[in-house]
Amino acid sequence: MSALAPGFADPPLAAQACFRRLLEAMARPGTVVTLAPPPAPPPLAPAAGAVALTLCDADTPVWLDAALAVPAVLDWLRFHAGCRIVAAPEEAAFAFAADPAVPFDRFQVGSDEYPDRSATVVLQIDAFGAGAALRLEGPGIERAAGLHVRGLPSCFVAWRAANRALYPRGVDVVLVAGRALAALPRSTDVTEG
């Protein structure tokens, strides 16, 4: 058996630092923040690993797509986060995806009474600052914000419009590339350009 990669060196302080940047990203969509992530096993992006160790535990079913559901990642998440790995996207509180074919329509969107009972999808992309331009509007943004992302699934903007129409239900998205992260809460209008 290969050695397990370590998690956060100092969990309380590292998780706090990661959460604060995640909160900043969620409160100001379009803001790209850089984390101090743990050495997550590839192909799990370091920032995705940081989100998992900050937010996931035995209370949060986690779904991984086929690209990420490899033994090294599964063992690392089970050991350090203690989370249950589920096979169906419908059961997930947190979903991690690296493959562009993301089953967006299968994630929990919450109910009218409890819109918070919805999935948070952590999507691994190639890079920020290059590639397709997104225009963001909504809470947390003074007028409009721009975000450049490379490696976003081609159906993403169309799916976001459908997701936005469900408000206040909906899926919240966290984009990660390497150590960087940006968030697109359900309240954000995402258009091309």
Binding site: Q16, R28, T54, L55, D116, P139, G140, E142, P168, R186
Partner: protein, 294 residues
């Protein structure tokens, strides 16, 4: 080697993760109350346990914490919460609004405008704005789900019918992001306009009622009203006796046993800074001023 008796900022890590997940959902749905598994804190419900749990989940060693109670830094509740986090998180504390990265508040928003990057944490006794009108949680939850806020408008209308105006002067309901009616906590209605499109992140914690909610920066927060009865924030028609400010929210203080009264700024930091800058009110030099800002 002896291990500390508790984790950084008092709460255990599993509790912090639970609160952090609730906070992120709260930010994603501005004004919606997210249920959370509120813990017992080492002080009674009603003393800011919700705000403290939010602060504990958010705070880090580099933060500078300010705590106010009705605008004052030097009251029992504010002093004990500030001391709690200095002890359990080792953070620097301040009484200056501009220096703080996190401000935990009971029932006021500071007069000094907040900046981007600052977090305002409200202590909330009753998070449900419809609770006085409808006691059943199942019903109020359904009303929020359907955005069915007619009952609240009827209450405001009845106020006008009976008194000629909307008589609410604190905990005045607001519509957040055009969707959810939210209780701003018992801040004076005077403070409501400060919530609208504030550059700061606003987080709300109700410990006894087990709810967390949030208003992200630059989010519309509109006080409910009618076209012919627009929202009017209330304040005493007076100037601060100590610093002479006319634009601040004032407390009326009884100063002797002969019925003597004085209006003073409720925001002690703002008032002290103004006096330091040379502003003087009609009662400047009053003994009240000596105990403040220290």
């Amino acid at each position: 080697m002896s291990l500390p008796a508790y984790s950084f900022a008092y709460l255990d890590e599993q509790t912090k993760r639970m609160i952090r997940r609730a906070l992120l959902k709260a930010v994603a749905i501005p004004g919606y109350q997210v249920p959370f598994a509120s813990r017992e804190m080492p002080l009674a419900y009603g003393w800011g346990t919700g705000g403290m749990q939010v602060t504990a989940a958010v705070i880090g060693p580099d933060d500078v914490l300010k705590v106010i109670d009705q605008g004052a830094d030097d009251t029992t509740n504010a002093v004990s919460i500030r001391r709690f986090f200095a002890l359990t998180a080792g953070v620097r504390t301040t009484e200056r609004t501009a220096e703080a990265t996190i401000i935990q508040t009971r029932h006021r928003i500071p007069e000094t405008p907040l900046a981007a990057g600052q977090i305002l944490v409200y202590q909330v006794p009753q998070p449900e704005p419809l609770r006085k009108l409808e006691p059943r949680e199942t019903e109020t939850r359904r009303m929020h789900a359907l955005a069915e806020y007619g009952l609240m408008h009827v209450k405001l209308y009845e106020d006008i019918a009976r008194h000629g105006r909307i008589t609410l002067s604190y905990d005045y309901p607001v519509l957040v992001n055009g969707r959810h009616v939210m209780a701003p906590s018992p801040i004076p209605s005077f403070d409501n306009p400060k919530m609208h499109r504030s550059p700061a992140l606003q987080l709300f914690g109700a410990g006894r009622e087990k709810r967390i909610y949030a208003v992200p920066p630059y989010t519309d927060v509109v006080s409910l009203a009618f076209e012919d009865h627009p929202f009017r924030p209330w304040k005493a028609e007076a100037a601060c006796g100590l610093c002479g400010a006319t634009e601040t929210y004032l407390d009326e203080v009884v100063v002797d046993d002969r019925g003597g009264r004085l209006f003073v700024c409720s925001d002690t930091d703002y008032c002290a800074e103004r006096r330091k800058a040379g502003h003087r009110g009609a009662a400047a030099g009053h003994a009240l001023a000596a105990g403040e800002g220290g």
